[in-house]
């Protein structure tokens, strides 16, 4: 059973045991507009919480994607290389970015759950 958490920078992290899937939220993809390029990290790379893990480029802007928690990259979604549109079509499904092996489960506690993120989005409009 996975739990999903959110950051203020609109990354989501879907946790299953010590591995988590990281991507950007539906709100983020809608704000970016048509995504045309995603730059993913290399396998095995380690990030501290808040470090830049990927870059997503849309027709409007290039934005950084930050690691929601510290961890090591164990898988990347290489499909995004040829089909960046997946981020727009299915950001929380097929449009995921990386899988991280979490090094500090404690860091998850600082992230928002579904309801808190929905409330946070309301404050942005």
């Amino acid at each position: 059973m996975s739990t999903i958490r959110y950051t203020k920078d609109h990354e989501y992290i879907s946790v299953d045991g010590d591995v988590a899937i990281v991507g950007i939220t539906d709100y983020a993809q809608a704000q970016l507009g048509d995504v045309v390029f995603v730059e993913l990290p290399t396998m095995g790379k380690s990030f501290k919480k808040g470090e830049q893990a990927a870059v997503v480029e849309s027709v409007k802007a290039a934005s950084e994607v930050y690691a929601p928690v510290s961890g090591e990259v164990v898988e990347i979604n290489s499909e995004l290389e040829g089909a960046p549109a997946l981020v727009n079509e299915d950001s929380v499904g097929k449009g995921w970015f990386v899988k991280l092996r979490i090094t500090d489960q404690g860091e998850l506690g600082a992230l928002m759950d579904e309801a808190a993120y929905a409330d946070y989005l309301k404050t942005l409009d």
Binding site: D34, V36, F37, V59, K60, A61, P84, A85
Partner: protein, 525 residues
Amino acid sequence: MLNNQGRPTQPVEAVAPHVRKTFTGHRALAMEEGLIFEIGRAEVTGVDVDDAGEFTPRLGKLERTTPIDLPGLSEPEAMRHYVRLSQKNYAIDLGLYPLGSCTMKHNPRLNERMARLPGFGDIHPLQPVSTVQGALELIDTLADWLTEMTGASAVAMSPKAGAHGEACGMMAIKAALEARGEGAQRRVVLVPESAHGTNPATAALIGYDVRPIPARDDGTVSVEAAQAALGPEVAALMLTNPNTCGLFEPEVVAIAQAVHAAGAYFYCDGANFNAIVGKVRPMDLGVDAMHINLHKTFSTPHGGGGPGAGPVVLSAALAPFAPVPFIRKDADKFAFVEHAEGTQSFGRMTAFHGQMGMFVRAMSYMLSHGGDGIRQASEDAVLNANYIRVCLSDVMSAPFGDKPCMHEALFDDRWLKGTGVTTLDFAKAMIDEGYHPMTMYFPLVVHGAMLIEPTESESKASLDLFIMALRDLAFSVQKGETERFSGAPYYSPRRRLDETRAARTPVLRWTKRKPIPAANQIAAE
């Protein structure tokens, strides 16, 4: 039918589908023009050159065996090709350019005349120094004036553009830190969110870790935020002032003091110096290094029109680390100091001495304006931007409320919310009105940003027409006339381009098209 300027015009219906498509694809004087590889023929040439006689090539196996197939045109064909292409440009010489000085402001023609004087235009950087004393005196005098206007101790003239100047200033900071023995300890450069995008790029290029400082809700940086980010690991803070929101940083002096108290250096991005020349000397604010875009503030051409030039002014603390070469005045002659030996200079940025042609133009601009004129140019740039801001503030929304801006007026897209029109649509509709769009979606800290810089050289009549056009578009938004925006531009030679497809599946290789058939092969339908 008369348009708003009292001139006869076509009604909108004239471009409706029932109007016959022309056979040629031309629309009167709006000519279609093929690529030169489509219209050129290898066997055609504009000049009559004798065939090469018999000779023995000395390239061995490297000799080319297939024809090079360069397109050939007769002289009149070549003229038409390039004149037609030139007519497809929007340029500062055609109309108001809301992108402002970042892209191009008016380039006075006197500057061009001066740069072509033989003593400046026909010299070479490897000429003996004794034969270019006048050119060196010009560089030296310009350097002197730049330090006067900024209050600086020294200036490095050689950087070739704004970002190159940033690199120069940051390399001087790095050299100063290394001379203090703190090079290894100070690894972080602080960059506020409202800075130019080149600032973090420059810091990263030189090997620093970039740490952002959040902007306040009013678009400026607070001394508290800077203070909180400072520490013994910080090498420098890079602040753009006036910032990318078009605002003067009110706490800049306190920020500079905090940076110095923490043992770091204060870099100022001087790209927007054109708003404050003659009003503020940046070094009085506590700046250690700042680049000056001669191609922005001092009207020299750039973009497609000429190279940039980004001299960097330095404080007394950084002056010893300035790059070579620099000019030294010995009694009655000027000498070039080419080598760093025996000094603390960090080395060399460029092969030669900087953008000489731009130095001449910048000096011509300064001389033709005088001190009072340069100050007035800054004042007019700010006045024009505020005139636009105030005249549009009742129909568009300003992100930081009703307060004066510097040389750029910034709007966000709150006023478009729920209308079905986006910033992009609005910008495209401006093209139909004969205006190049303003800067869109930048700065990133403002949602759906529209940043307008009219520059100092627009007349009130020109600003009024621009404002009325934007108001008319805004009223269309209010009335729900979304079709004016969703399909725009309607009147341009090409309609809206598919930016997404262009980025996702770019066609990067040109393929030959079918040639136009000879006239006798076309049968009547």
